[in-house]
Symmetry: C2
Subunit: 137 residues, 2 copies
């Protein structure tokens, strides 16, 4: 497992998976710095991401390995993987095309809380593509 | 709770807390775009963050509300709160001073996986302050 010092100050990658075997992974545009999405990986998804160079997650709702873009084509090419101090969270610096979020936006974070409210959101982005054209079955 | 359409396409803030009553919150430097840390909020921490304008989290290890910087002085002034498509993750765009991570770095993400390895980390940042000077008890 590693001591606190190993984990925080060391040069060994000791990713810490939670009780469900998952680690949080943030996909961040390597060029703009925009945060695109947050998802989860199990050990296999992390290994596949490292081996293939393309972001692969574990879907909690579907309980299966999920290569980002396998349906939509919006893959994430991984440039760099960062880990945080206690090694329980990852950032993937990725190269992407225009659309990333299944709703149609580039980033899943397309709304912000309005100033001086605690209930109202405002849209801060325009849709980058039409999801109905991609996710038809 | 809201329908899928309300949650994804609506302008109502309906944050979704997990089975432990927590929502993931990413603190991102509002000026540089650097991701600083990832933490968790319960409903009270989120309300305090909105009310006070300073990032307040819920510590899973200590099981208590935790105003970021209450010990270290490294507070996070919240400029904007973003929410993702399924409203189970937040980004706080924050203004911070130099040091943020308890290990001494500006960001908790101060190491990256070395290219063509799956076990070795490299340090990508220098320490911004000496944590021993701040966290003495």
């Amino acid at each position: 497992m590693g001591t606190k010092e190993d984990i925080e100050e060391g040069a060994e990658f000791i990713p810490k998976f939670d009780d469900n075997g998952l680690i949080t992974a943030i996909a961040q545009d390597s060029q703009s710095g925009q945060t695109l999405m947050v998802a989860y990986m199990n050990r296999q998804a992390l290994e596949l991401t490292i081996q293939t160079g393309y972001a692969t997650y574990f879907s909690r709702s579907r309980q299966k390995i999920w290569k980002k873009g396998e349906e939509s084509g919006h893959v994430q090419k991984v440039e760099q993987i960062l880990v945080d101090c206690d090694q329980d969270c990852l950032i993937l610096k990725v190269i992407v095309d225009a659309g990333q979020c299944h709703v149609g936006y580039r980033s899943c974070f397309y709304r912000a809380l309005k100033k001086n409210t605690d209930k109202k959101l405002e849209f801060i982005a325009d849709k980058a593509y039409d999801p109905q054209k991609i996710y038809r079955k």
